[in-house]
């Protein structure tokens, strides 16, 4: 989400690998229509927030990015985004066990929209493992929610060298399409390595869906609900970037969740975009990495 323009074209070069894996998993595990997905294998929970306590998000787990990014040297957060982030309950609050991140159309600090960005920087970071969230997304032209990660050394080792894993990005004007990506040196902004997944006979804004990755030393597996839809490996990055790109995913990352309005990825809202728009997060969970699970 930082300094980048995602390429909308499918860039997966190992789609067949993912397909074979997902077919295998389907055969072994069968179909399930509850929210227990079957594509992830790491099961040792090490960090979670189920947002059980109504009110402000737990400050021991979540911090905020505030403003429009100017303070960080990134006006519009590097993407020409239109919102001003706050930590007010109007933009981020927990109600009935669900975190609500709400984008509003209102005049605020010279901006037309407000919203929130929550992050675990300096509070929680982890190298490898399974990261997932159960989210109901908003909708409408110019609405851009994301659940993503940045390399924890981003202050010393600025983007894109720090690395970025986008577990979920979505355009409000494409309510059935999920985008999962990685960014790093040699593959970022418009040249990120990215893949879209289209939900059949359903939408992301009418119910909760689970967005996750399983991440190890030499792979990142992307899944949504019970579908594994992509795997990115160091070989993919090498092939995709003609050997220029570097795998920067062997270090801890922290988690971010935000709801942007406008920006390069989605374009501005239009007259039909309804406000407020809310991203509902039921939980965020992180599981420990266990190499033996993947060696079997």
């Amino acid at each position: 989400m930082k300094n980048k323009i995602l390429n909308t074209h499918m860039r997966s070069i190992l789609g067949h690998k993912a397909l074979i894996l997902s077919m295998f998993l389907l055969v072994v595990l069968g179909c399930e229509n509850d929210d227990t997905q079957t594509v992830a294998r790491l099961t040792t929970l090490v960090w979670e927030d189920n947002f059980d306590l109504d009110g402000a998000p737990d400050p021991s787990r979540w911090d905020y990015d505030l403003g429009d990014g100017t303070e960080q040297g990134l006006p519009g957060w590097g993407n020409e985004e239109l919102q001003y982030y706050t930590d007010r309950p109007e933009n981020a609050t927990i109600q009935n066990g669900v975190l609500l991140i709400t984008a509003r159309e209102e005049s605020f600090e010279g901006f037309e929209y407000t919203s929130a960005r929550l992050l675990t920087k300096d509070l929680f970071e982890q190298q490898y493992g399974r990261f997932e969230a159960r989210i109901r997304l908003p909708f409408g032209q110019g609405i851009w929610p994301a659940f993503w990660m940045l390399g924890a050394d981003v202050d010393e080792n600025p983007w894109p060298a720090a690395g970025e894993i986008d577990i979920m990005e979505y355009r409000g004007q494409e309510p059935t399409v999920l985008v999962g990506s990685v960014h790093g040196p040699g593959y970022n902004g418009a040249d990120a390595i990215s893949k879209e997944f289209t939900l059949e006979n359903d939408r992301f804004d009418t119910g909760f869906h689970i967005f996750g990755i399983e991440w190890g030393p030499d792979f990142i597996n992307y899944y949504v609900d019970d579908v594994l839809y992509n795997q990115i490996t160091p070989e993919d990055i090498e092939e995709e970037t003609d050997g220029e790109g570097v795998w920067v995913f062997n270090k801890p990352f922290f988690i971010l969740m935000n709801l942007a309005v406008g920006g390069n990825f989605v374009g501005p809202p239009n007259a039909e975009t309804q406000f407020p728009q809310t991203m509902l997060v039921d939980y965020v969970r992180v599981y420990e990495f266990d190499e033996t699970v993947f060696n079997n």
């Binding site: 909708f139 309510p175 939408r203 009418t206």
Partner: protein
């Protein structure tokens, strides 16, 4: 006493049997309980009509200008398979009729469409025209659950058209499978051809974010007297499609649940007809499939007449001569136009213009009225110095006298309707108002494009 105990015991036994029955199955009431269901076939036309009446296409009445000759199937053109429906839209001067339209009906008792969420088809035009209306639910009978979508754009390549069903649970037995109506309005009077293929009901799962509305989404007032009536109109249901596009359809009133907050003042029928039975106030609202519709109306019923409406969505209007008199030295163009299903008055090249009701029989006696209400939208930027001057001209014993009230630029908003309630006492020079005949809008060119709506006099 003995009898009483017997009775109690029997009911316990019966209740016990009931529990056994229920615990034996998870969802069904019992195998013996079965509701009548109708055909659930989704297909209407694939390569042939599917389960439709023998005549297949039933034209609207030629007496209304419908041209029954332009309908057929085409074995040379198909989106899928070998055949499609071909519709030749006539020119306005075609002796057989100036437009084409009609319906397809299920040949049986009707179909159960409750498992679907949209009518879909592929369409292609000989040119980039629009089809005036397409929909379903018209059965040349009760037409209880008619749905129409307007101005469907054609491309010269095949495009999928999706007409959402406002509330599928209503369609347990529907005979009206398809309806359409097309003229050459979008092609400057030139006839054209369009094809339809793979016409069917579908369960897409991506029809979402329902936004129903009544009365154009407006909150209105209905000052009236006992015996007054009003039909809730401008019914719409808008869904967001997978493409991100908002598709609006016009559902029949029976899709809505109308409600009056105080039925002792006014009640509302399932067709949205409001009948005022007492003095007092009541709020009329509606919902569709459990979603509260935007828009509503506050009925204010009092003992004496409270309203004279010139042009409004909410009240019965009095007759007028015209909405643009095209006077000498007048540059103003325009009149009544339909905007998103809502009639408004739109003027361009404005210097001055008037709504005319000066013919003797149309003059308005507003002696009892106290207020002129109207909505004005400036359809361009509002600059300092801009103004709209309203002028009311009265005819008394054959003598015409003018009066005026000026709305300053600070009270106008670009591209947004602003409500004005202007006391008639604020009109300079308006001494008598027993024979009002003209309402002028004057900008002297400071503003050239405005839209006006909901013009009425009221007693406040």
């Amino acid at each position: 006493m003995k009898k009483y105990i017997d009775f109690k015991l029997r009911s316990v036994v019966v209740l016990g049997l009931g529990i056994l029955l229920f615990s034996g199955c998870e969802r069904d009431l019992s195998d013996d309980v079965r509701f009548a269901t109708f055909n659930t076939n989704p297909d209407i036309f694939t390569d042939d009509p599917v389960g439709l009446t023998d005549e297949f296409f039933e034209s609207f009445d030629p007496a209304t200008g419908a041209n029954p000759e332009g309908f057929g199937t085409d074995n040379d053109v198909a989106f899928e398979g070998s055949s499609s429906i071909r519709i030749d839209v006539p020119a306005p001067d075609d002796p057989d009729g100036s437009f084409i339209g009609g319906i397809f009906r299920d040949r049986g008792e009707g179909r159960d469409l409750t498992g679907f969420d949209a009518l879909t088809f592929y369409a292609r035009g000989s040119t980039t025209a629009t089809i005036g209306e397409v929909g379903f639910g018209n059965d040349f009978g009760e037409n209880k659950f008619v749905v129409l979508a307007q101005n469907i754009r054609l491309s010269t390549d095949w495009r999928k058209v999706i007409i959402p069903i406002p509330d599928p649970s209503k369609l347990v037995q529907e005979r009206g499978m398809f309806s359409f109506s097309a003229g050459s309005q979008s092609t400057n009077g030139f006839g054209f051809t369009f094809w339809i293929d793979e016409l069917r009901f579908e369960k897409l799962g991506t029809i979402a974010q329902a936004q129903p509305s009544i009365l154009g989404g407006n909150e209105g007032r209905f000052p009236t007297t006992v015996g007054g009536s009003l039909t809730i109109g401008q019914l719409q249901q808008t869904f967001n499609l997978e493409s991100g596009i908002n598709q609006t359809v016009i559902p029949a009133p029976s899709y809505f649940n109308f409600k009056s907050s105080d039925p002792n003042v006014a009640f509302v029928s399932e067709l949205g007809e409001v009948t005022v039975v007492n003095t007092g106030t009541t709020e009329i609202s509606a919902s569709l499939a459990g979603v509260r519709a935007e828009g509503g109306i506050l009925v204010e019923s009092s003992a004496t007449a409270q309203i004279i409406s010139i042009f409004s969505d909410l009240f019965a209007d009095v007759p007028v001569d015209n909405f643009n008199g095209f006077f000498e030295n007048q540059t103003t163009l325009g009149g009544v136009v339909n905007e998103n299903g809502n009639d408004i008055i739109q003027y361009t090249d404005l210097n001055f213009v008037s709504i005319n009701f000066f013919s003797e029989e149309n003059r308005i006696d507003a002696s009892e009225m106290t207020t002129l209400n109207l909505q004005i939208r400036v359809d361009e930027a509002v600059d300092p110095g801009d103004f709209i001057r309203l002028e009311l001209n009265n005819f008394l014993n054959g003598v015409e006298s003018g009066s005026s009230f000026t709305i300053a630029s600070s009270e106008l908003i670009a591209n947004e309707f602003v409500d004005f309630s202007i006391p008639l006492s604020s009109f300079e020079g308006l001494t008598d108002r027993s024979g009002l005949g003209l309402l002028f809008f004057v900008s002297d060119g400071t503003i050239s494009s405005i839209s006006v709506d909901n013009i009425f006099f009221s007693v406040e």
